[in-house]
C-alpha cells in the first residue's frame, strides 16, 4: 500500500482544527466549567530535603470560603505508592508523606470557593519542617557519605545495570588503533507547554467511582497505574481528555499523579474540584527530561571505523522515580548505536536520586542525552584521527543493502538509506564550500564552526523497553510486557456521514486533519465531509496501555489503525453491496465512494445507500452481518516483542533518520552565536501532510535550540530551584529562531499502512549534538572543549575567556 499515489494523503490540506482555535472557541482544560465546581491550590515545599514534623491546618480550615484541606497523611491513607519498573521499593505518593524531597513537592491541598481564596488559605497552613542536607549533583549523590533521600532504599541508587553486547571491551581495545574517551553533561530542561496542567475531579460515594477531566497526553498505562495507586478497579475511574490540549511535548505525560491527588481531594471534600497549575508550579514541579552524566569511550580503527562503544550513563529522576522511568535510560536501547554499524557495546546505567524536580519523557525521550555523547565522541574520534567529521560518519553508516538491519541491542530498522540522506543534507548546506569559507574565516581570526549530527529517530515505542530496567534473572519471575497498540473507530451514520473516533489524544499535531485526509482517500469522499472526534474518554473509547500521543506514534500506528478500521468498514459495505446487487462479494469494486459490479460500473450504488440499508432496513442484510456500518481497530505493530534473554529489545517500531548540518559563528567578545546556515534532512517515511510535518520539524528545532542554549531547570547546591519563572527559565522567542532549510529523504516504512514513520521528535535528538559539534568546531582553534549544554552566550564567553587566560 505504501508508496501508492493518493489524492489527499501527501497534500498540504489546511488544518480543520484551526477554525475553532483561531476564533477563540477551542476547548482546553481551563475552559471546562462544571456545576458547583470548587477550586484547589497546592501548598508546596520550600525545602529541597526536610522531614515534615507537623502540618497544622486548623487556621486554614477557618479561612473564608474554604471547603477542606488534604494533607500527606490523607494521601497516605487513601492511596498506595505508584508501581514502577525497578526492583527497589519506591515510595512515590502524589503528596509528600513524612518527608519532602524536592522544592515544589506538594505538601497539602486547599479547596475553596475560588482560586484566590484557596491561595489565601495556603498561607495559613503551618508546616513544621526539619531541614536536611540536600544533594543535587548526580555523582555526589552516589558517594557513600551523601545524604540519603529514601531511607528504605539505603542509598541514592534507584537502578543500576550492566549490559554487554558483542566482543569483550578489553579485547576490542587491543584491536583498536585509538580509544577516545570523554565525559559529557546533559542538562535538565522541559517542554514547558504554554498551557499548564489541569485537572477537574469528582467522586461519587454511591458508585464509589471517579470522573477526572485532565489534559494528559498518554500513555494510558498510567490510567491503570493510577487506579492501582488508588486501589480501585480501572473502570471506576473515568478520565476525559478535552478536544484541545495546549501542547504536550512529553511534559504532559507527567499529569497523572495530579489525577490521583485531585481524586483523593474530591473524595475527601465531597465536591467537584478544579485545579489549574500555575507557571511557577509548572516550572518547579511538573516534569523535565533527566539530566545525565556520561562517561563514554569509542574504540576506533585508523580508517575511522568505530569498533565499539563503552559508556556509563548516570541519570537522575530527582526526588522520586515514577513511571515510565527508568525509561530515560532504556527507551533508546534498540537504537543505542544510532545510524552506525557498531556491533560491540559495553553499557552501565545508573538512575540516581537527587533533591531535584521529577522527570517524564521529553520530546526525543532519552535520545538527546544519548546522542549528545555518541555524536560528540564521534567528532572527537574524527579529530584525533585527522578525519573529516562527515567522512567518519560515511565510514560507519549502516548501509542500505544491510536493511532490514538488526542492531547489536535488538533494534529492527526496516528501511533507510542513511548515506544518501546524509549526503543530501551536506549538499543543501554546501558542505565543501562551507569548509572553504571556514578556512578563510579562521585565517581572519573569526570563530566559524560546522556541526554535523546523523541519528536514528525511533518512533512508536514498544513498552517492552521498560522491562530492561530489571535483570534477565528478575524478569524471569514476571510476565512479559510488549506492545504499541493504537485504536480507531470509523463509523458511517444512517445518512452516510463518516465519523472517526480516534484515541490518539492530540496536542496540536493536526490529527483531525490528517485523519480526514486518510478517510477521504479510503472512502473516496472530501476531507471536509469527515468528522473526527479527538476527545478521549476512557469509558467509551477504545484504548490500551499504549494509547496516547507520545513517541511520534500517530503517523505510524495511529494512521494504520485508522486505515485498518476503514478497510474493515469498507469490507462490510462490500458485503452489503453484493447482497443488494445480488452478486458475489469478490465481484464488487469500490472506487471514489461508489460500489459497483466489475462489469457494470454504470450501475453503481453510493456509500450513503449502503449505510442506509445497514441502518434503515436491518432485516434485509446478508446472513451473519450485524446492523450498522462501522470498523474498529486496536492495532499493535508486529515488531513489538518482549526483550530477549540477552537484553536485546526492539524498543521502538519505526526508525527514521535525521541529518543536521549547522554552520555557526561565535562572537569572541560577547559569546553570542549566529547561525550562518542550517540544513535539516529527515527520513520520516511517507509524508502525510508536508506542511504539518514542516511544522513538527521546525517546532522540534526551536525546542532543541532552547535546551541546547537557553533553557535549564537550574538548582543551587542546597537544591533551591533558580528558574521558577519565565524570566529565569528562558524559552526561545521568534528572534532566536534561525532560518532552517528543512528537507526530506523518504524511505517508506514497510511496517505501516501508509509507509509513514514518526516526524515530531527527530530534531529534538539531533540538534543538541549538532549545536555542540558546531560550537566545538568553532572554538577548536582556542583549544576549548565543548562537553556540556546549555551553551548560553555567557557560558561560551567564559569558556573563551578561560582558554585565552591559559594561553597568555
Amino acid at each position: 500500500m505504501s508508496g501508492e499515489k493518493k489524492k489527499w494523503v501527501g497534500s498540504s490540506y489546511k488544518r480543520k482544527e484551526d477554525m475553532r482555535l483561531l476564533t477563540g472557541r477551542g476547548t482546553f482544560m481551563d475552559d471546562i466549567l462544571l456545576p458547583n465546581m470548587k477550586h484547589a491550590a497546592i501548598l508546596r515545599s520550600p525545602y529541597a530535603h526536610a522531614k515534615i514534623l507537623d502540618v497544622d491546618i486548623s487556621e486554614a480550615l477557618k479561612a473564608p470560603g474554604v471547603i477542606g484541606v488534604v494533607t500527606g497523611e490523607d494521601v497516605k491513607k487513601a492511596s498506595k505508592p505508584y508501581p514502577c519498573g525497578v526492583t527497589i521499593p519506591t515510595k512515590y505518593y502524589t503528596c509528600a508523606v513524612d518527608k519532602v524531597r524536592f522544592v515544589g513537592e506538594p505538601v497539602a491541598v486547599v479547596v475553596a470557593d475560588n482560586r484566590y481564596l484557596a491561595e489565601d488559605a495556603l498561607d495559613l497552613i503551618e508546616v513544621d519542617y526539619d531541614p536536611l542536607e540536600a544533594v543535587v549533583d548526580i555523582e555526589k549523590a552516589i558517594e557513600p557519605d551523601a545524604p540519603v533521600l529514601h531511607e528504605n532504599i539505603g542509598s541514592n541508587i534507584y537502578n543500576h545495570r550492566f549490559f554487554k553486547y558483542g566482543t569483550d571491551w578489553d579485547t576490542l581495545c587491543q584491536e583498536a588503533d585509538e580509544v577516545v574517551k570523554w565525559k559529557f553533561n546533559f542538562p535538565k530542561y522541559a517542554g514547558s507547554p504554554i498551557e499548564t496542567y489541569g485537572v477537574i475531579a469528582s467522586y461519587s460515594s454511591f458508585e464509589n467511582s471517579y470522573v477526572v477531566y485532565n489534559n494528559y497526553q498518554g500513555p494510558f498505562v498510567n490510567h491503570a497505574l493510577t487506579a492501582m495507586a488508588l486501589g480501585i478497579p480501572e473502570n471506576k475511574m473515568r478520565w476525559i481528555i478535552p478536544t484541545d490540549i495546549g501542547g504536550g511535548f512529553g511534559t504532559k505525560t507527567g499529569i497523572y499523579p495530579y489525577c490521583a491527588l485531585m481524586s483523593i481531594v474530591a473524595k475527601k471534600t465531597g465536591v467537584t474540584v478544579k485545579w489549574i497549575e500555575d507557571r511557577r508550579e509548572h516550572l518547579l514541579a511538573s516534569a523535565t527530561c533527566t539530566d545525565r552524566v556520561t562517561y563514554i569511550e569509542a574504540a576506533v580503527r585508523k580508517d575511522g571505523k568505530i569498533l565499539g562503544l563503552k559508556d556509563k550513563a548516570m541519570d537522575t529522576t530527582g526526588g522520586y522515580i515514577r513511571p515510565p522511568e527508568p525509561g530515560c535510560a532504556y527507551r533508546s536501547t534498540g537504537n543505542h548505536t544510532g545510524a552506525y554499524d557498531i556491533r560491540n557495546l559495553d553499557r552501565e546505567v545508573y538512575i540516581v536520586a537527587t533533591n531535584k524536580g521529577l522527570t517524564a519523557p521529553l520530546r526525543g525521550y532519552g535520545c538527546q542525552e544519548l546522542y549528545f555523547s555518541t555524536e560528540r565522541i564521534t567528532d572527537m574520534a574524527a579529530a584525533k584521527l585527522g578525519i573529516d567529521p562527515a567522512e567518519i560518519r560515511f565510514k560507519n553508516f549502516v548501509q542500505p543493502e544491510q536493511m532490514p538491519y538488526t542492531t547489536a541491542t535488538g533494534g529492527y530498522y526496516d528501511v533507510g538509506n542513511y548515506p544518501a540522506a546524509f549526503q543530501k543534507c551536506l549538499d543543501i548546506v554546501e558542505y565543501d564550500k562551507m569548509r572553504e569559507y571556514q578556512k578563510k574565516a579562521r585565517a581572519e581570526g573569526r570563530l566559524v564552526g560546522i556541526g554535523l549530527a546523523s541519528v536514528v529517530d525511533p518512533s512508536v515505542t514498544n513498552i517492552a523497553y521498560v522491562a530492561i530496567g530489571k535483570t534477565i534473572e528478575e524478569r524471569k519471575n514476571e510476565r512479559d510486557k510488549s506492545g504499541s497498540g493504537e485504536a480507531a473507530i470509523v463509523k458511517v451514520d444512517p445518512l452516510g456521514g463518516i465519523t472517526v473516533i480516534c484515541s490518539t489524544n492530540p496536542q496540536g499535531q493536526g490529527h483531525e486533519t490528517v485523519i480526514s485526509q486518510i478517510i477521504a482517500d479510503e472512502f473516496g469522499v472530501h476531507p471536509d465531509e469527515v468528522v473526527v472526534d479527538s476527545v478521549l474518554d476512557s469509558s467509551d473509547r477504545l484504548y490500551s496501555i499504549t494509547t496516547g500521543s507520545f513517541s511520534s506514534r500517530f503517523a505510524s500506528s495511529g494512521t494504520t489503525a485508522i486505515v485498518r478500521a476503514s478497510r474493515q468498514c469498507i469490507e462490510k459495505a462490500k458485503k452489503i453491496a453484493a447482497h443488494l446487487m445480488k452478486i458475489k462479494v469478490e465481484d464488487v469494486v469500490m472506487e471514489e465512494g461508489k460500489f459497483f459490479a466489475k462489469d457494470k460500473p454504470e450501475k453503481a450504488i453510493k456509500l450513503r445507500h449502503i449505510a442506509g440499508a445497514a441502518h434503515w432496513n436491518q432485516y434485509d442484510l446478508p446472513e451473519g452481518i450485524d446492523a450498522g456500518l462501522f470498523g474498529t481497530s486496536l492495532w499493535t505493530m508486529p515488531t513489538s516483542r518482549p526483550p530477549d534473554g540477552k537484553d536485546r529489545v526492539n524498543s521502538s517500531n519505526t526508525y527514521g533518520f535525521v541529518a543536521e548540518a549547522i554552520v555557526v559563528e561565535v562572537d569572541q567578545e560577547t559569546g553570542e552565536i549566529t547561525f550562518l546556515k542550517w540544513a535539516s534532512v529527515h527520513d520520516a517515511g511517507t509524508i502525510l501532510n508536508p506542511q504539518i510535518v514542516r511544522g513538527q520539524v521546525l517546532g522540534s528545532i526551536v525546542q532543541a535550540i532552547g535546551g541546547s542554549m537557553y533553557e535549564e531547570q537550574a538548582y543551587d547546591e542546597h537544591g533551591q530551584c533558580l528558574t521558577a519563572s519565565f524570566a529565569d527559565y528562558l524559552c526561545p522567542t521568534a528572534m532566536e529562531m534561525p532560518k532552517v532549510d528543512v528537507d526530506h529523504f523518504e524511505s517508506p516504512s514497510v511496517l505501516t499502512a501508509l509507509g509513514s514513520k514518526g516526524a515530531g521528535e527527530g530534531s529534538s535528538m539531533s540538534v543538541p549534538p549538532a549545536i555542540g559539534n558546531a560550537i566545538a568546531d568553532a572554538l577548536a582553534p582556542l583549544g576549548v572543549v565543548v562537553d556540556e549544554l546549555p551553551l548560553s552566550p555567557s557560558k561560551i564567553w567564559h569558556m573563551i575567556d578561560e582558554a585565552k587566560a591559559k594561553t597568555n
Binding site: 488544518r15 483561531l22 476564533t23 521546525l698
Partner: protein
Amino acid sequence: MADKRQVKVKVNGVEYEGYAEPRKLLSDFLRDDLELLGTHVGCEHGICGACTILFNGEPIRSCLMFAVQATGAEIMTVEGIAENGKLHPIQEAFNEHHALQCGFCTPGMLITVYHFLKENPNPTEEEAREAVSGVLCRCTGYTQIVEAVMAAAEKMRIAA
C-alpha cells in the same frame, strides 16, 4: 477579602457589567466572569503573552492588570477578530501558513499581529519577527508565524 467593585467594560463591542474584588486580574475577569474563554493564561507574570488583548486600542497583557482598572475601557479579544462569521485575513493567513499547532498561544499572537499590522501595514520580515517576539510559542518554531504575518499584510494591503 475586600468588597467587590463594579466593573463596566465594552468587550468586542458588547457592554458588560460585573463585580470584582480589587485584586482580581483582568484575565480572570474576562474568563471567569464574562466567560470569554478565548483569552488564554500561560504564565500570569507577563512574559508569555498568551493573554494579550487590545485595551483602548493598545496591546496589553491582561494578566498584569486588575479588572477594576478596566472600567470604562474598550477591549478587544480574540473572539472579536472574525466578523460576520468570516475569518479575518490574519486568521486566514495563519490557517494557510500553518502558523498554529496547539493554538494556545494563538489568541495572544493574533491580537499582537492585528495591532502590529494596523501600525505597520507594510512590514519587513525582520519587523514582523520582532513584532511577534513578545509572545511565546512552544509549538511552531515561529517561522510559519512570520510567514503568515507577511502574507496577511499583503492580503490586507490588497483589500484596502
